[in-house]
Amino acid sequence: MSDTHAESVAYVRETAIPPAPAPVTEAGVVGWLRQNLFATWANAALTIAALYAIYLVLAATLPWVLGGVWTTDSLTECREVLQGRSAACFSVLTERWNQLIFGFKYPDEFYWRPSLAFVLLFLAAAPVLFFDLPRKLLLFTAVYPFLAYWLIWGGTIWAPVFAALGLVAGYVIFDRFGNQNFATGFLGGIAAALVVWILADYIVPLIASDDPLLPAVQSRDMGGFMLNMILGVVCVSLSLPFGIALALGRQSNMPLIRWISVVFIEFIRGVPLITLLFVANVVLAYFLPPGTSFDLILRVIIMITMFASAYIAEVIRGGLAALPKGQYEAADSLGLDYAQSMRLIILPQALKISIPGIVNVSVGLFKDTTLVSIITMFDLVGMIRGPILASSDWNGVYWELFGFASVLFFITCYGISQYSQWLERRLTTDHR
């Protein structure tokens, strides 16, 4: 073919033209700019508007942040140092750091305890969050709640030990009988746990030493960001089992169970968290036996847990509904009963696809723990709005404090949501 026209054509090039470099307007920085920022006139206008907006924000905040004062003891001193300059008084953060993080009543000499619990939290959460880690680490995860309770609240070590023992007893019974008959195992397990706990109620006061290794700290003394963390972690972990139970209940073919679950879930999801906190704060006391009163923090944990389980139940229901019907039928055809098919076939898959949703609910819940400040608990926001801004030293420092709170929440929540996105990507590839 090539030589067909060789005679009739004056010149035929015999080698390929070496590739020319792309025009300067299409490659390198300029090309990138053209493609991404100035592709069309409208685009260029948008870019310029965006640049201007960035400039406005930075011009207003940067000098204020960079010129901040970090080492004074009160706002008056800080104003003297600034001499009329407009800049931040970050010294409120350094001076009240402990109060912001731990609240104003947690004993200073024990700050290491919640800090240690916080560090261990990562170790405990790691095997749950990352499937690749050795499964043996889950053992530490199981121990962690009791360890963290002991570290933060202190007091006799026997209380958390017996609480754990009760669960172990329940699990042993369940393991022994649950294989033959789920219901027997389940109810037996609960009974065994209850027996241990009731026994512990009598035994613990007897064997508890008067001078425990870690002195007890009242739960009223918890505060600051630590309180947000406690509420967030405790309520999310507690709400998971309840959420699963509610989701299964809502899918159940027993009408009564289904109706109870539906009413509970819709009721909780229909009211704002703040009204539930009002209930915890001003109403719940009327529904407890006369003469008993338990901690506000415990009442709040109950309410937030109820709140979170309703939302988590809906996420898990989504996961259950997303499973192909074949999975249910396959489990049935294998002759598995309800408990077995749920435990072995359905839930592992349904939970796996609900994890991103659960993480989203958890982030939302963690942010919502700030609402406890409205019912006089001194969490991070409560500390800022209450004792710190009301003190004569720091009356008038708003932006530094709220900025700090925002940064703290942003780091935590953004971290969790990045994890959730990573997980989502991973799970999608797993499925294809």
């Binding site: 109060q99 704060n281 109403v283 006369p290 003469g291 006089t376 001194f378 009301a390 003190s391 008038g396």
Partner: protein, 339 residues
């Protein structure tokens, strides 16, 4: 209803057996701690300081009661309450005593079933305005925007006052006093209203307190009183007479400095002797020991000392005694006799 009550009674029959209606005094003694409701933070009356210690005028009352009952002024668990939660907290037994700038009113006493044990501060609602506004009387505030802290009787007094004087205003309800200050200082409201003592406390925390004046009108009577639950008269007596002991101690010249000397042996004044337990058995009648008042006074001083230490003229709050002087000095403090 009846049926459910019956069913409920069945279910809890076992659980509730131990909960007999013990008196609060016994409860507190058994617990070894007094649960005392205070505000979430009002400098001078009750606020945690930089070390997390609660300090203030109301706090001192709690400490005196704890000292009298438990022999330890620090055996107090301070429970911060808001205007919304304070009454439930008391009614439900979460706290034993509420000392939180609570105004003694008919409906609270009768309808909400509480027992006010005596007035610890005579207050009244006032207005603070910036000097630059050029207002010298509350009657000139027609059309003004008024910042009020919610959850107090303040809102009702304000509505009544403006209605009575037939002038209009715009209320801006505020949740915490710090936010109130922010709004007021930024000019988002023309005037800030709350109890006159609160205004003084707030003004003290401003950068330039001199730029603000408190108007002469006091538009309400606010007898601030500690309160306990209705129907537990023994406990009410303990709280009432501890407060009275503090007031009487000032009148009789007993201070935290000399109380232990005076209590060491009976002196010449029979009333002081009865108060300090060197004569008679007043403490016993209340279910306490003879030295209860000595401890209450030693905890933070007599009424006058507490006042001077927390809100008096030498503190940033700088309140004059005014109505809160002893009756002998032209004030309203008048402790009934100890006999």
């Amino acid at each position: 209803m009846k049926k459910s009550v019956f069913l409920g009674a069945l279910t809890i029959a076992g659980l509730a057996a131990g909960v007999a209606a013990a008196g609060t005094l016994d409860d507190v003694k058994a617990r070894g701690k007094l649960n005392c409701g205070v505000t979430t933070g009002l400098v001078g009356f009750a606020a945690p300081d930089a070390n997390g210690e609660w300090k203030g005028f109301d706090v001192a009352v709690c400490r005196a009661v704890a000292a009298a009952v438990l022999n330890d002024p620090t055996a107090v668990e301070f429970v911060p309450t808001t205007g919304k939660t304070r009454f439930t907290a008391l009614a439900s037994g979460e706290i034993d005593l509420l000392a939180r700038n609570t105004t003694w009113t008919f409906s609270r006493d009768v309808d909400l079933k509480f027992e006010f044990v005596g007035v610890n501060y005579y207050d009244g609602q006032g207005f603070m305005v910036p000097k630059s506004l050029g207002v010298s009387s509350a009657k000139e505030l027609d059309g003004a925007t008024v910042c009020i802290q919610t959850g107090t009787t303040t809102e009702l007094n304000l509505a009544d006052y403006f209605r009575k004087n037939n002038i209009s205003y715009e209320p801006v309800p505020i949740e915490t006093s710090a936010e109130g200050a922010q709004q007021y200082l930024a000019g988002a409201c023309d005037t800030y209203t709350t109890d006159a003592s609160g205004l003084a406390s707030l003004r003290a925390s401003f950068e330039n307190p001199g730029d603000h004046v408190i108007l002469p009108e006091i538009i309400s009577k606010e007898p601030l009183a500690p309160l306990v639950r209705h129907g537990d008269n023994e406990w009410a007596d303990v709280a009432r007479w501890t407060l009275n002991a503090l007031i009487a101690a000032e009148e009789l010249g007993v201070t935290s400095a000399n109380v232990n000397d005076m209590a060491a042996e009976a002196g010449n004044s029979p009333e002081i002797n009865r108060l300090l337990g060197t004569e008679g058995n007043l403490g016993e009648m209340m279910g306490l020991d003879a030295k209860w008042a000595v401890r209450a006074i030693a905890a933070g001083g007599n009424y006058g000392e507490i006042f001077e230490k927390n809100i008096g003229e030498n503190t940033p709050i700088g309140l004059a005694r005014g109505l809160n002087a002893q009756w002998t000095d032209g004030g309203l403090l008048y402790a009934p006799p100890f006999r």
